[in-house]
C-alpha cells in the first residue's frame, strides 16, 4: 500500500514548526496567564517549566527514534494492542484538534479586541480554518516550508515588539522574589509547561524527518528557544506593566502599543497582528494535519487529504462552543483546569508508551511490528 504521507521535512523545518506553534500562545494570552498566578515571580515559574519539560522531550524523542518509520498512532496500537491503542490515539488526536479550535477562537478574539471589533468572530474563524485546511491537505512538506520561510520574519517582529518597549521598563518591579510563596510559582508553572509539552505533536512528524536521529536535539532546541521567548515576554510585560500585567487580556498587543520612540516611531502594534495571523495559520494547519493523518491511520483509510475539510468544519464548531464569554475563558485558562488537563494528556500518553516499549522491548523490532514467528 502507498504510504499516506509522502512529504518529507528537515529537522530545521520541524524546529521552526514547533517554535512557531508555541509562539502562537505566547504572543496571545500566555504572559498574563502566568502573571495572574505568580505575579512578578512568573519568570521563575517559566524557568521551572523549561527545566521540567526537558525529560518529557527526551522521552518523546526516544520513542520517536525507537520507531523511526512510524507515527505515534501506528506504534501505539502495535504496542498496546488495538483497543487500548485506539483509545490512546483518539485522545492524542482529540487533544490537538481541540487546541486547533482554541487557536482559532483565540486569534478571532484577539482580532476582535484589537483592531476588528465589528467583524463577526465566525468570519475570522472560518477564514483561518479554511486556510489551515487547505494547507493541511497539502501535506507536511508544505507546512514545514511555510514555517521555515516565515520563521525569521516572525521572530524578528516578535523581538521588535519585545525590545522597543524596554524604554518604559522598570526592572525594580521584578523584586521582591518569592514574596507570595513558592506554591503559587509551582502552580503557575503548569501553564507554560503544558504549552511547551505540546511538542509531542512532533511524534506524528518524526517518520517524515529526513534525519530522524536529530529528533532529540531538535526537541532540546525547541524547548530552549520557546522557553526563552516566553521568559522574555513575561519579564518585559512584568517590567513594563508592574502588577497591572496580570490583568491584561492580550499583553503582547498592549506591549506593542507602548512603543514610542521620540514621538515618531510609534503605533506599530499592527505587526503583532501580522505575527498572530502567520503563527495561528501554521499552528492550526499543523494540528489539522495531525488530526487528519491520525484519523486516516487509525481507520486504515487510503488518503488523509479528504479529512481536512470535514475536520475543519468540526474545528469551527468546536471553537465556537469552546467558551461563551471572557469570564468562562478566564476560568478555563487556569493551572488547575487547562494546565492539569494538558500535562496529564501529554505526559500520560508518552509515559504509557515508553513503559510499554520497555516491557515489550524484545518482542518488537524498530518497525513496530511484532515478529510473526
Amino acid at each position: 500500500m502507498k504510504p499516506l504521507e509522502e512529504g518529507q521535512i528537515s529537522p530545521r523545518q520541524l524546529y521552526a514548526l514547533l517554535v512557531l506553534s508555541h509562539l502562537e500562545t505566547t504572543t496571545s494570552v500566555l504572559p498574563s496567564l502566568t502573571t495572574a498566578f505568580a505575579g512578578r515571580d512568573s519568570w521563575l515559574a517559566i524557568i521551572l517549566a523549561i527545566i521540567a519539560v526537558l525529560p518529557l522531550g527526551f522521552l518523546a524523542a526516544w520513542l520517536g527514534t525507537r520507531f523511526p518509520r512510524q507515527t505515534i498512532v501506528q506504534y501505539s496500537s502495535s504496542l498496546l494492542g488495538r483497543p487500548l491503542g485506539f483509545l490512546l490515539s483518539s485522545l492524542y488526536i482529540w487533544f490537538f484538534m481541540y487546541i486547533t479550535a482554541l487557536v482559532a477562537r483565540e486569534s478571532a478574539v484577539g482580532f476582535n479586541l484589537s483592531v476588528l471589533p465589528q467583524t463577526p468572530p465566525i468570519v475570522l474563524i472560518v477564514i483561518l480554518v479554511l486556510l489551515a485546511a487547505i494547507t493541511a491537505r497539502s501535506g507536511i512538506e508544505v507546512i514545514g516550508r511555510l514555517a521555515e520561510s516565515s520563521f525569521a520574519l516572525v521572530i524578528f517582529f516578535t523581538l521588535l515588539t519585545l525590545v522597543l518597549p524596554l524604554s518604559f521598563a522598570h526592572p525594580e518591579y521584578l523584586q521582591p522574589a518569592l514574596a507570595r510563596g513558592v506554591p503559587r510559582v509551582l502552580k503557575a508553572a503548569l501553564i507554560p509547561l503544558g504549552l511547551l509539552g505540546e511538542f509531542i505533536a512532533a511524534n506524528m512528524a518524526i517518520p517524515y524527518l529526513t534525519k530522524p536521529e536529530k529528533t532529540s536535539r531538535t526537541f532540546l532546541y525547541t524547548a530552549l528557544t520557546s522557553g526563552m521567548i516566553i521568559l522574555f515576554f513575561t519579564l518585559v510585560a512584568t517590567a513594563v506593566f508592574g502588577r497591572t500585567a496580570a490583568n491584561l487580556t492580550i499583553p503582547p498587543f498592549k506591549l506593542a502599543r507602548m512603543i514610542s520612540i521620540g514621538n515618531f516611531f510609534e503605533r506599530i502594534e499592527v505587526i503583532v497582528l501580522a505575527v498572530w495571523t502567520i503563527v495561528a495559520l501554521i499552528k492550526a494547519s499543523f494540528y489539522l494535519w495531525i488530526g487528519s493523518l491520525g484519523i486516516a491511520q487509525l481507520f486504515n483509510l487510503k488518503s488523509y487529504r479528504a479529512l481536512a475539510y470535514p475536520l475543519g468544519i468540526i474545528t469551527v464548531v468546536l471553537s465556537i462552543l469552546a467558551y461563551e464569554n471572557f469570564a468562562e475563558a478566564a476560568s478555563f485558562y487556569v493551572p488547575q483546569t487547562w494546565g492539569v488537563y494538558s500535562i496529564t494528556i501529554e505526559l500520560g500518553i508518552i509515559l504509557l508508551l515508553v513503559i510499554a516499549t520497555l516491557l515489550r522491548a524484545k518482542k518488537i523490532n524498530t518497525l513496530g511490528k511484532i515478529p510473526e514467528n
Partner: protein
C-alpha cells in the same frame, strides 16, 4: 414520469458542463507518485504537480481583492476626527464632561499660496457629557460629523476639583478601551476645570498638544521642576504597594493682549499655560501641590533630574551668585530596618559645570574652591530634598517617593507587617540624605573677567 421543465433544463445543463467542471475543479489533488523509494534524487514537493486552472484562479483572486479590504471595520482617514488631548471633569450632577481637542487638518496646512490671510484656528474644542466616560465619548456623535478617533491622544488633563474627588473610575476607560494609549501624559490643571484649561493657547506652536508636548519636554529636560507621568506609570503607582502617584501640575496665566507694532500677523493669545510643580496623590485622590522647588526635590530623590540650573553662593565673593548646570544625576534609595523601625538612606550623585558666575572666581589660585562649591551644591540639593520630605511626610502624609516599595523589595517580610499601618509609619520614617556633588567643567573660560576687590 413527470419531470418539471426547469429540472430538465438543469440536468441537461449539468450534463453538458460536467466534463468541463471536472477539469476546472480538479486541482490541488496529487497526481500519482512514481519515485518514492529513491530519496537521494528526489526533489521535495514534486508530488504537487497539478496546478489550479487559470479560469478559476483569476476570478478567485479578484474576489480575494474585494474581501481583503475589509467590510466591517474599515475606517477611512477622511471620516476620522483626531483627538489629541482630553480634559476630564466631573460636573455637579455627577456626570462626566469630556472636553477634547481635535485637530483640523485643513487649517494646519494653511491656505495654499501662503500670504497674510486670516487663518483659522487649527483645532476644535468640543465638549460632551455622559454618566460614564464611554457615554460622554459616544455622545460626541450627536454633533460631530466625524468619528472621534482617540488613538493619537497625547494628554489627559484633569481639573483640580475632579482630581480631589478621585480619578480612577475614569482611568479604567483608558486601560480597557482599545484606542487610547497608555503612553499619554497625565497632568492636573491647578485651580480650574480641565475644560477651562484647554481654552488656553501656546506661543510659537499653533496646536495645543504639540505645545504641551514641547513645554513638558522643556520642563523635564532643562528644569526638572515638574514630573512627567503617563497613564501606565500612574496605574502602576496606584496598584503597587508603598508608592503613591505624583503627576505634573499646570497652571494658566492670563495675558492682556498688547498690540505689537511692526508685525503683519498677530494672533492674540489671551491665556497660556505654565508648568508649575507637581500634584501629589494619595490613592487616586489629589491631596496637595508641590511647589517647583519641592517638585525638584522629589526629582532628586527619584533620580529624574536630567538637567537643571542650581544657584549657589560664590564662595570667594559671597553675596554674588554662581550658576551651575547640573547633568547626570542619579539616585538610590537604600532602606534598612533598625529595631523594627524603617530607615531610608537617599543617595544622590550628580555632576555639574559652572555656567554662570556673577562675582570673582579664580580656581587656579585657590585649590579648595571647587570642594567648597561642591559642598554648597550638596547643601542646596539637600535643602530641597528636606523640603519635599517635610511636605509629604508631615503635611500630606503620602508616600510619593516609593519608600514603602523600596522596603518591600529589600525586606518583604517586614513590609508585610509595616504595610497595614504604613499611614502612621510613613511620617515617622527616618531619612538620611547622602549627596555627592561633582564639578567637572567650568564652561569655555576658567577665570572671571572681574578683578578681585
Amino acid at each position: 414520469m413527470f419531470i418539471p421543465w426547469f429540472k430538465l433544463k438543469l440536468t441537461a445543463l449539468l450534463k453538458k458542463i460536467e466534463p468541463k467542471a471536472r477539469t476546472l475543479f480538479e486541482f490541488g489533488l496529487p497526481t500519482a507518485k512514481k519515485t518514492l523509494g529513491g530519496k537521494a534524487g528526489r526533489r521535495p514537493g514534486t508530488h504537487l504537480k497539478s496546478r489550479p486552472s487559470k479560469i478559476i484562479l483569476v476570478p478567485l483572486l479578484v474576489l480575494l481583492l474585494i474581501f481583503s479590504t475589509g467590510c466591517w471595520d474599515k475606517r477611512e482617514i477622511e471620516d476620522l476626527a483626531f483627538l489629541t488631548a482630553w480634559g476630564l471633569d466631573r460636573l455637579e450632577n455627577d456626570e462626566i464632561q469630556a472636553s477634547v481637542v481635535i485637530v483640523k487638518p485643513f487649517a494646519v496646512a494653511g491656505p495654499a499660496g501662503g500670504g497674510a490671510v486670516a487663518r483659522e484656528r487649527p483645532f476644535w474644542l468640543a465638549k460632551s457629557t455622559g454618566r460614564t466616560l464611554l457615554e460622554a465619548m459616544c455622545n460626541f456623535a450627536t454633533f460631530s460629523p466625524r468619528f472621534i478617533f482617540c488613538a493619537h491622544s497625547r494628554f489627559v488633563i484633569f481639573g483640580e476639583e475632579t482630581a480631589r474627588e478621585g480619578i480612577e473610575e475614569m482611568l479604567d476607560f483608558f486601560e480597557r478601551n482599545r484606542e487610547p494609549r497608555l503612553t499619554a501624559h497625565i497632568f492636573i490643571a491647578k485651580g480650574m476645570t480641565a475644560a477651562k484649561f484647554l481654552e488656553s493657547e501656546y506661543e510659537l506652536v499653533p496646536l495645543p498638544p504639540e505645545g504641551g508636548q514641547g513645554m513638558l519636554q522643556n520642563a523635564t529636560d532643562r528644569l526638572g521642576t515638574t514630573v512627567d507621568t503617563n497613564i501606565n506609570d500612574f496605574l502602576i503607582m496606584l496598584e503597587e504597594d508603598g508608592i503613591e502617584p505624583v503627576v505634573g501640575c499646570w497652571e494658566v496665566i492670563s495675558k492682556k493682549p498688547v498690540p505689537l507694532k511692526g508685525e503683519l500677523l498677530r494672533e492674540e493669545i489671551i491665556q497660556s499655560p505654565v508648568v508649575n510643580g507637581a500634584a501629589a496623590f494619595k490613592d487616586d485622590r489629589l491631596v496637595g501641590w508641590l511647589s517647583p522647588e519641592e517638585a525638584r526635590g522629589l526629582q532628586w530623590i527619584l533620580g529624574g533630574v536630567k538637567s537643571t540650573p542650581l544657584i549657589v553662593k560664590n564662595p570667594v565673593d559671597p553675596p554674588r551668585l554662581l550658576g551651575i548646570e547640573v547633568m547626570r544625576a542619579t539616585s538610590e534609595l537604600i532602606p534598612s530596618i533598625k529595631k523594627g523601625k524603617p530607615h531610608i538612606k537617599i543617595k544622590v550623585e550628580f555632576e555639574g559645570s559652572i555656567d554662570d558666575n556673577q562675582g570673582f572666581f579664580d580656581p587656579e589660585k585657590n585649590p579648595n574652591l571647587i570642594g567648597k562649591i561642591e559642598n554648597y551644591m550638596a547643601d542646596a540639593v539637600e535643602r530641597e530634598i528636606r523640603l519635599v520630605l517635610h511636605r509629604c511626610q508631615q503635611d500630606l502624609n503620602t508616600d510619593v517617593f516609593g519608600f514603602g516599595a523600596a522596603i518591600n523589595r529589600a525586606y518583604p517580610r517586614e513590609w508585610k507587617r509595616l504595610k497595614k499601618r504604613w499611614d502612621e509609619e510613613f511620617p515617622r520614617v527616618d531619612v538620611s540624605v547622602d549627596i555627592e556633588a561633582h564639578i567637572r567643567l567650568s564652561g569655555l573660560i576658567i577665570k572671571s573677567i572681574k578683578k578681585e576687590n
